[in-house]
Symmetry: C2
Subunit: 105 residues, 2 copies
C-alpha cells in the first residue's frame, strides 16, 4: 500500500534548501564569528575595533568578516580608510536569543 509511515526520500528542492541553510549556519559556527554577530547586532564596528576585542591577527579577523559577508550575514561600509561592519539582517538577534534560550549557553 501507499499509506505507510515510511519517510520520504530527500528530493532535489529539499536538498537545495538544506544546503542553503547549512551554508548560513556554517558561517555562524565559530566562536569568533558568533562574537562578531553579537557585537555587530549592538552597533557597527570597524575591523580594528573588532581586532582589538578579539585579539587575533587582523588578517584573521578580516577573513572571518568575509565569511560572514559572503553568507549575507553582515555588510560593510567604507568610511575613509576604515571599513565598518554591521549586521545585515538585524532579525538574526532573535535567532541568537532563541538559540541561547534553547541551549542555555
Amino acid at each position: 500500500m501507499s499509506t505507510t509511515k515510511k519517510g520520504k526520500k530527500i528530493d532535489i528542492q529539499m536538498q537545495t534548501r538544506l544546503e542553503a541553510r547549512a551554508r548560513i549556519i556554517k558561517a555562524l559556527a565559530h566562536p569568533t564569528r558568533l562574537f562578531m554577530v553579537e557585537e555587530l547586532s549592538q552597533k557597527e564596528r570597524c575591523v580594528s575595533e573588532l581586532t582589538e576585542m578579539i585579539g587575533s591577527d587582523v588578517s584573521t579577523v578580516s577573513k572571518h568578516l568575509s565569511v560572514l559577508k559572503n553568507a549575507g550575514i553582515v555588510q560593510d561600509q567604507k568610511k575613509g580608510s576604515q571599513v565598518y561592519y554591521i549586521l545585515r539582517m538585524p532579525c538574526i538577534r532573535n535567532f541568537l536569543v532563541t538559540f541561547k534560550s534553547v541551549y542555555m549557553v
Copy 2:
C-alpha cells in the same frame, strides 16, 4: 577617561560560552544533519530509516548521528537490534522555525 565607547575585550568566561555555542551550531552545520534534526523533531527514526531517506552509506549516516549525539542534540534508544534516535531538546524546533523565518530558506 574611562567612559569611552571602546568595546571590551573578550574575557575567559565569554570565550568559553562562545565556544560552547559554536560547538552546537557546528554540529547543525551540515545539510544531512539539518535534515535529521527536522525529521527527528517530528518523530523518532531508526538508523536504517534515516539511511533510506538520505541515500548515503549507512556508516556515513551513523557518523552524522554521532556528531549530533555528542553535541547533545539527539539521543538514542535501543529497541531490539535497532537504534532509534529522537531530538533530545524538542525546543530546537523553535530554533529552526526562527531560522527559516529569518532566512527564508
